[in-house]
Chain length 293, copies 2
């Protein structure tokens, strides 16, 4: 049974509902109970091995592309989760794009332009480390960034709704054309972020990752949480779902992400294509020719 191009998200308790009822204050940042780190890590690696197998079928099947988007506040665990979940997949057929502050050239286009250029090709898996959602998260908390974008005109109380609509219709179009989009909000607590920042300061090999501006942004925490809540409610849809992942335990977070990636790929029903009778006859002819060489 092959899945249709019209795919929709497998159920999960971490799935952000499609009816706008997600409340970030009620979303857990911690695992439901005590965790056995070694066991979580082992189960995550099993999922990664299965992802490797599914990836080969995704490539041979050549009907879908799969895009996994990661958004989080600083020290939420994006880099480490991407590294851990996807180290072990075949890097041919896989691409990670990191989106930083837009360049002058990128600002001379609409905000989806640079995103569209990095979409995975059919048969491939793509990962976005940050994404077009920065435009309704950090830019919403810092509307002064809009000045650099030189929009023709905008009203601050209307622009976010416009952007949600742009994103929804963009993602619907991609889903209709075979690109599956699954989005992860790595939901870390204020206290755990502080803990991770202190480690970056105290561990010399992590110093280069630390940016002092990150400490200042902690004062905006409630505004960021509101921006996340609105963005997730406005853009979690069956064809492009959000998952809110408890992120205070790294091994638990990585296991959940690996599981959802695996279940997403499994739900596509991809497999090695079978060749038809005509192709089989051509193969037999080739075989006879080869035997004489």
């Amino acid at each position: 049974m092959k899945a249709d191009r019209k795919w929709s998200a497998p159920p999960s308790e971490l799935l952000v509902p499609f009816d706008g009822s997600f409340r970030v204050a009620d979303a857990p940042t911690r695992p439901p109970g005590p965790v056995d780190k070694a066991d979580l890590k082992k189960r995550q690696r099993e999922h990664t091995r299965t992802i490797y197998d599914l990836q080969r079928k995704l490539y041979a099947d050549d009907r879908f592309a799969a895009l996994f988007v990661f958004q989080a506040l600083d020290a939420g665990g994006k880099d480490g989760t991407i590294r851990n979940v996807f180290t072990g997949v075949n890097p041919a057929g896989f691409q990670v794009s990191s989106f930083k502050a837009p360049s002058d050239e990128e600002l001379d286009h609409d905000f989806l332009w640079r995103i569209a250029r990095r979409l995975p090709e059919r048969g491939r898996i793509g990962v976005f480390n940050r994404s077009h959602y920065e435009e309704v998260l950090v830019v919403r908390v810092h509307p002064e960034f809009l000045e650099r974008q030189r929009l023709p005109r905008y009203e601050l109380d209307a622009i976010w709704a416009e952007r949600y609509e742009s994103i929804r219709t963009f993602e619907k179009h991609l889903a209709d054309n075979g690109t599956i989009i699954v989005k992860f909000f790595l939901n870390v607590s204020l206290a755990q972020q502080k803990h991770r920042f202190l480690r970056r300061i105290d561990k010399p090999s992590k110093n280069w990752k630390f940016n002092s501006g990150d400490v200042r942004e902690r004062k905006r925490w409630p505004e960021y949480m509101r921006a996340f809540e609105d963005a997730l409610n406005e853009t979690s849809r069956p064809w492009a779902p959000w998952y809110a992942i408890p992120a205070d335990s790294k091994p638990y977070m990585r296991l959940q992400v690996a599981r959802i990636v695996r279940e997403t790929l499994e739900s596509l029903g991809v497999d090695f294509p079978e060749i038809d009778d005509e192709a089989r006859a051509a193969l037999a002819k080739c075989r006879a020719e080869l035997e004489t060489q």
Copy 2:
């Protein structure tokens, strides 16, 4: 001790010399003695783990990009070698580009244009599955492909020397600017290619990889070998070396490639950057601010 930006290839018996003395007829396609497959695979995996560690330093160090180019005849083992050597590296910071027959848009540019667009960024590892070398390999064996390229004028006995020069100066420029280029010729024998084609025909899960045109190309074997010999002699240089890898044994080939990739990255002397006193003072200030939050 940090390496200079001016890097040159570590010595190896598989290195194609820089003086034009490479003879493809003398280059081995088989391992020097009997092989223990399990042992070769184990050693290859050890190299891959080390490549993972070196990759993190390459990224943090942020002075070099490393590009590994793979060229071979069909069934030479490019896909499998790339998959085996690099499955286990961090796919963020890694990108594989496969070059197929050029598109109309690509043909409307010089032959290095599409190559330049896929070069790895500083701090990253790039892999080319086929490359600009197709222009002096398959195109040399099939000069009729030149018609599609609509060159202003050319003489068939001068164009290859022009192309070698274009490639040499392009690669020298990249090396001067921090992109290390290491090129692998996977050297498979005519008999082993036949064996692998037969397996693709006889194994249903490999049928989709088989292309009946590949059998016809076997008649051009001597012309391909001449094209490889010339290209390697003309473009193996200390800053952009070629290695001729015996390719009849897959585990042996993969081990050699993994070893050379590892030694290349080791020879760069990359490491996690240390921060200076000023940055250290800023960190201490951040730490104090965080503690009050």
